[in-house]
Symmetry: C2
């Protein structure tokens, strides 16, 4: 074949060979450094590189230099607003985690300071979260009885926080952030909704003023626990709880309707706490079954580094708790950070954020804090309050510090029922039924994933719900490859374009030629299926031809444009199909195989088996060549040159 | 837009909506019935359907009616040939499984009869296999000491066989045969090679005449066991073993060179056994350290249904053994059956075969047989001997029956070392180093999978090797989706075709337009990656434009032809990309989204967001429209009609 012919007839190219090491390097880079973090270091002098490196680890150096009084005013307001939310929420969530309430305040002091230095989001407000708190409680309570050994429980919670931090930092450092991507949007919607339901139900303990309650989180155990002690329900507590819940929901409703009144919703928890405390103090309601927080120690975080427990028999559970809570809180934090970054059009480096979250939890575990992340509710308030930088986190931390140093006695009479109302109000916002309806409308499988996460969490266990949803999501990916779609292509009238006849009902079949498109890589997982499926398409086509009396099938064109890759099992499958075609008197042609596929077909000599002239650049050219053969001569007699020339000229 | 325009401008179609139930049914059918087993029942009267149904379960009814004397002659020769292989191999493999040697004969009597009635392969010869035997031994020996409690061990082996059969039958009945597909070609090559290595090393026990030996299968334990007892090596045994091994390998070599002399290799094991037995009998070699089989009970299979152990503490191990050995032997049997069916151009229904294998093992476990499948070596001999139908299995079974009834005393003096030689000779043929080299040349990842299976089996444990290889294979599928390839497309000169510039170095970029192809479904697992990657492509392109002084980037075309599906996370990603493009002043266009993708984009209103007129049938049309905009007017001013008209006419 002359060189000139080669150019003209659109021969399908085999990509130029690459040295193995180079292609390996490229693949590793794409897998672990898709965001190309070293981009900014290119072509820079060493001194500049050092500064850029420092900035990379401590973004505060970068934005701190441009910081202005204007910014500070905005951050101050935002910081005070989130502090007024952080204090009651911190206490509530610490109760949820079965930890001393003061830990909620400790956790809103040190970790936000660490994040302010290392984090790259401008809108994230750091704090504890309900789901993480509940998970900690439910996993650690399995091995330690909180009433019998509260100190051990506390120490295990610190240790779990350390492991969560180590996991998060390690994922960031080893650029494995993509693991978080396996928590799909649907999984998170279902999981969050389920967790919110479960957390709300748990709060019935506080609302009804019960003192004994199940540690299990599933709805059946909780309901049994509630209705088995109806005689212990306290109506005073319930009335108070419902009033505050109504107030909080009303405040949220107003803020939603009028976004400039965001502060009503943001300060509602604090005003609830103040009102509730005053009420209890003045009416001595604690004597009528309304439980109060009680004594809170004054002073900032004591060190807890010596309290970490590594040697105990509980270590496996602690590590598991750390890993599960770490990955869940990471997913929430990253998702929240990304959402707000998208609003304000700046960029967040997922792996860098993970390191920041990790450091925040590691330092937190040394200073009497437990698991923190970037909760959605607090960050949304921060954003609405007009924060400009992470300084709002510093302001919040300072406000919490002042509370710790001076104001803790004020919480002595705060009723627990108010805290329960605050949690329920926050949780109800997380049950995103509209998102679930949207999933149902757009993608049924995503809806199934979402519901399995929800039902798993509500009826079984938080971990089971999560495993179920992630398992189903992965199964979906595997099924996509194991059962790829195959389409029969037809000609779109007045063009040389061929498309699926399912999608384009006006596309018409070409007589004597069957064109099939495969929509996934040809891998071991689908090689047998594809062989069966291809043969079935041919059988169907031949049956139809028989019954309609059209001319018999002579050519089979496989459109490979959507086949991203092929492995050795896939190549064997193609070889088998080729043999079967030969035996049935059919001619096999390939259209538009990609670079990777051509490389492997070439190395395995399949190109020689099928003949390079039977591989075409487009389906149109393949059909042209087949039609020429059909109408002028027998396939075996045509010379490769003739074939190629014809296919390019029709 | 008029109806006529619609036709002419190749509007990308949204496939006609399908009722949810119908599409669910279709999906389930494709997943579980890809081979359409009910096809032949279509349009048949009830009586005919009943016969077809019977034939489906018992293929013997179908081929039995056409059976002729001609066929019988061929099957008789083939059957006697494989019997001469089956008897010594059966005894050898039973020893390998730590079971009484007679079980090897029992297992070659009942199971082949069951398969002959239910199986659909004409070439498969049923029998025990080395890998399955070794697995049974290594897994059951973990919980039962064979020397202390041989009866319990025997009963557990029967029970494991029952579970293997139940699993196989269940996989077939529930149409889950595709699970076997997850054992890729590369996995099987590595696994078989590793198992063959391990089995051969185990035979050093027999060759060296040792009586105590490790139960572990890894190479280090075996080597330690051998070299720790050098003083017990028996040279008489070793010399005898090497001679027979040489004879067997020579016979195989001759048969390989001259295929018509296949019988030399096929009968070599039997002649070895006869020669070895005579030698021991005449020289009284058993007194010089050459161990013999000893007493074998006369008579056919005793029933073992009452021996099955369900209540014991060993049940979990037994079930695990059954599942692992069941799936492994299934994979071998199906692969062997398929290979020969391909040679002779007939069809094998994988799920039907599984039911046959399952029934064969269930019945086997009731009649003192242990795990059987269709071993490659025996089936190859069957094929070479010219078998026509499964009658050759019946002939083999009858020959084994005669042996059991009359000839067992003859094996009294058969030396174990001959059996070891037979196993080693069979195993050496399974180490397919040429296949491994081929994998390295064609697909590096497949080679890694293969080697990890091999090394896992050889250095750790049979199960670990298998888990490692299957895990890596699944990881590859997940990575394909998690890190899809993206290509920049360029124009192939003198055409309107756009292809990857990596594959076609002569394809040229279009100034002001960046065209990107995504090569995988857009799922939760890759949505974040793709967002980062798309932005990086745009940054790179803009950097290059800046440095070269070309006209700035204005259009971004996403070629979706290889995007097989999209989920809600993927749609969110597209929405984000669209927002970012808008902010950067770039216009986003899509080319050739498939039916499934269009359906979801439509349901999620993304089509409205981007504008249906910015979705094109081909990349060529998209570039045409963009070029028109670039050179004549601003994008925002063009009416949809104008855009579509232009794109179709250039």
């Amino acid at each position: 074949m002359g060189n000139k012919d080669f150019e003209r007839v659109h021969r399908v190219a085999i990509p130029p060979p690459q040295p193995f090491v180079k292609s390996l390097k490229n693949n590793l880079k794409e897998t672990f450094f898709p965001d190309d973090p070293l981009r900014q270091f290119k072509n820079q002098p060493p001194a500049k590189r050092f500064i850029l490196g420092l900035q990379y680890v401590f973004p505060i150096i970068e934005w701190g230099r441009k910081y202005s009084l204007e910014f500070f005013k905005a951050d101050l307001i935002a910081g005070i607003t989130i502090a007024s939310l952080a204090i009651p929420q911190g206490i509530s969530y610490a109760k949820l985690a079965n930890l001393p309430p003061i830990l909620g305040l400790y956790s809103s002091f040190v970790p936000p300071l660490v994040y302010a230095v290392m984090g790259s989001s401008r809108d994230l407000a750091v704090g504890t979260v309900a789901v993480g708190s509940l998970l900690t409680a439910s996993m650690l309570s399995d091995v330690v009885n909180i009433n019998e050994n509260p100190t051990l429980y506390l120490h295990l919670a610190f240790t779990a926080t350390l492991f969560a931090g180590l996991l998060e930092a390690a994922l960031g450092i080893f650029r494995l952030g993509f693991i978080v991507d396996f928590l799909s949007h649907a999984t998170i919607v279902g999981f969050m909704g389920g967790a919110a339901t479960v957390v709300s139900l748990q709060q019935l303990k506080g609302i009804l003023g019960l003192s004994h309650f199940t540690h299990a989180t599933d709805v059946i155990s909780v309901m049994r626990s509630i209705f088995s002690q109806t005689h212990k329900w306290r109506w005073e507590s319930a009335v108070l709880g419902c009033c505050f819940l109504f107030y909080l929901l009303l405040a949220r409703y107003i803020s939603k309707k009028r976004p400039n009144l965001f502060w009503i919703s943001a300060t509602a928890p604090l005003t609830s706490v103040i009102l509730g405390t005053l009420l209890v103090y003045l009416t001595h309601a604690e004597k009528h079954g309304v439980q109060a927080i009680g004594y809170l120690k004054k002073g900032i975080n004591p060190p807890s580094i010596m309290d970490l427990e590594f040697g105990s028999q509980y270590l496996p559970t602690v590590i598991k708790t750390g890993l599960v809570t770490g990955i869940i809180s990471l997913a929430e934090g990253i998702a929240v950070g990304r959402s707000f970054a998208m609003f304000k059009n700046y960029h967040i480096d997922g792996n860098k954020e993970m390191i920041a979250f990790g450091m925040m939890n590691i330092v937190g575990s040394f200073t009497s804090s437990y698991l923190t992340t970037g909760p959605f509710s607090r960050s949304a308030v921060n954003f609405n309050a007009g924060c400009k930088t992470a300084v709002s986190n510093i302001v919040m931390a300072l406000a919490v510090m002042i509370t710790l140093l001076l104001l803790t006695p004020l919480f002595h009479h705060t009723p627990l029922v108010v805290l329960s109302s605050i949690i329920i109000a926050a949780m109800l916002g997380l049950i995103d039924y509209e998102a679930a309806i949207h999933l149902w409308q757009v993608d049924k499988f995503d809806f199934v994933v979402c519901m399995s996460a929800y039902l798993g969490v509500v009826f079984a266990d938080i971990e089971i719900g999560l495993i179920l949803a992630v398992g189903l999501s992965v199964l979906r990916v595997l099924l996509f490859v194991a059962r790829p779609r195959t389409f029969v292509l037809g000609n779109i009238p007045e063009t040389r374009i061929y498309r699926s006849v399912d999608q384009y009902p006006n596309a018409s079949n070409v007589s004597g030629i069957l064109i099939l498109e495969i929509n996934a890589p040809i891998y071991f997982a689908n090689a047998s299926y594809l062989r069966e499926r291809i043969l079935r398409w041919i059988d169907d086509e031949e049956d139809e031809i028989k019954s309609s009396g059209k001319s018999s099938l002579q050519y089979f064109i496989l459109d490979m444009s959507a086949v991203g890759n092929i492995d050795t099992s896939g190549i064997s499958m193609l070889e088998e199909v080729k043999k079967i075609m030969d035996r049935r008197g059919l001619k096999l042609a390939l259209a538009d195989p990609g670079g990777e596929v051509m490389k492997k077909l070439n190395k395995s000599k399949f190109i020689e088996t099928i003949g390079h002239e039977w591989i075409f650049l487009t389906v149109g050219e393949a059909v042209g060549a087949c039609n020429y053969m059909l109408h002028t001569c027998k396939p075996d007699l045509a010379s490769p040159d003739e074939l190629k020339k014809y296919s390019s000229n029709v």
